[in-house]
């Protein structure tokens, strides 16, 4: 069952996206793909965890991290972890680079939902890609 783990910097957006996925238009597709969204606490992960721990947790549990991560390439950043530890079969990290648009542009939110479900549907094709952008 694909779990999308919502990073602390995007929890509100994650809930917004999840609510959209549960509307009458999208609910059947979300259910058919068995997608769920979870916060760190719901997944049993300490919300203070550093990026490398989060990334390894996702790989170990088969979760996709959803983030708007804006750290640069310092030693323990998510980007450095992706480059250092990523393999051709690693699960990607979903990145929302323009997060505020999710709140203000319903059409943008629709595109994000569609792209997220697309990624999950083509799960085998997206392994090893590191970071994938939404939408």
């Amino acid at each position: 069952m694909p779990v999308i783990l919502i990073d602390a910097n995007i929890e509100g957006h994650g809930m917004h996206i999840w609510m959209r996925m549960q509307t009458v238009q999208w609910r059947d597709r979300t259910t058919a793909l068995e997608v769920t969204l979870q916060t760190f606490r719901e997944a049993g992960l300490n919300p203070a965890s550093p990026d490398d721990v989060v990334w390894r947790f996702c790989q170990a549990h088969g979760h996709y991290l959803l983030t708007s991560n804006r750290n640069e390439e310092s030693e323990h950043s998510l980007e450095a972890t992706l480059r250092r530890e990523g393999t051709p079969t690693s699960l990607p990290v979903f990145t929302l680079p323009l997060p505020d648009r999710v709140y203000y542009e319903p059409a943008f939110l629709e595109r994000v939902v569609e792209k997220l479900l697309d990624y999950v549907l083509f799960a085998d094709n997206i392994r090893g890609t590191g970071r994938l952008y939404l939408p």
Binding site: A8, S49, R70, N71, E110, D118
Partner: protein
């Protein structure tokens, strides 16, 4: 720096709130674009007013440097998005001028196609 025992530290991911995953850059993205605490708290419900105040204090002392960093991050994501979209297929940007019904319908079609492919692979005859 320190405000009511809340500190900004750098443990290798840029300045962040001690004991929390949230970084200064996470919050600065919104501050720099004119959003207030009420909005930022909606986005990051785990951010307390005290933590926010500490970040604001840090921002006021390092604004120029943070603006530069924000620009570099924007550029990094822009390049990443362009490279991803150039791959096409599932990596391409989805189009803007499509109704929700059309989006749902085409996803349904892709799911159906994928299922057919899967069944075909299982039963090559």
């Amino acid at each position: 720096m320190q405000t009511n025992t809340i500190r900004i530290v750098d443990v290798g991911r840029g300045p962040q709130i001690e004991g929390h995953r949230l970084t200064v850059m996470d919050v600065f993205y919104y501050l720099h674009r004119g959003y207030d605490f009420a909005f930022i708290h909606q986005v990051m419900p785990s951010l307390t007013p005290e933590q926010f105040d500490t970040v604001v204090e840090y921002v006021n002392e390092h604004r120029g440097e943070l603006v530069e960093r924000d620009g570099r991050v924007e550029e990094f994501h822009k390049r990443g998005m362009e490279a991803q979209r150039a791959r096409g297929g599932v990596f391409a940007e989805n189009d803007e001028n499509v109704t929700t019904e059309e989006r749902v319908a085409r996803l349904k079609e892709k799911m159906k196609h994928k299922l057919t492919e899967k069944n075909g692979a299982r039963h090559p005859d």
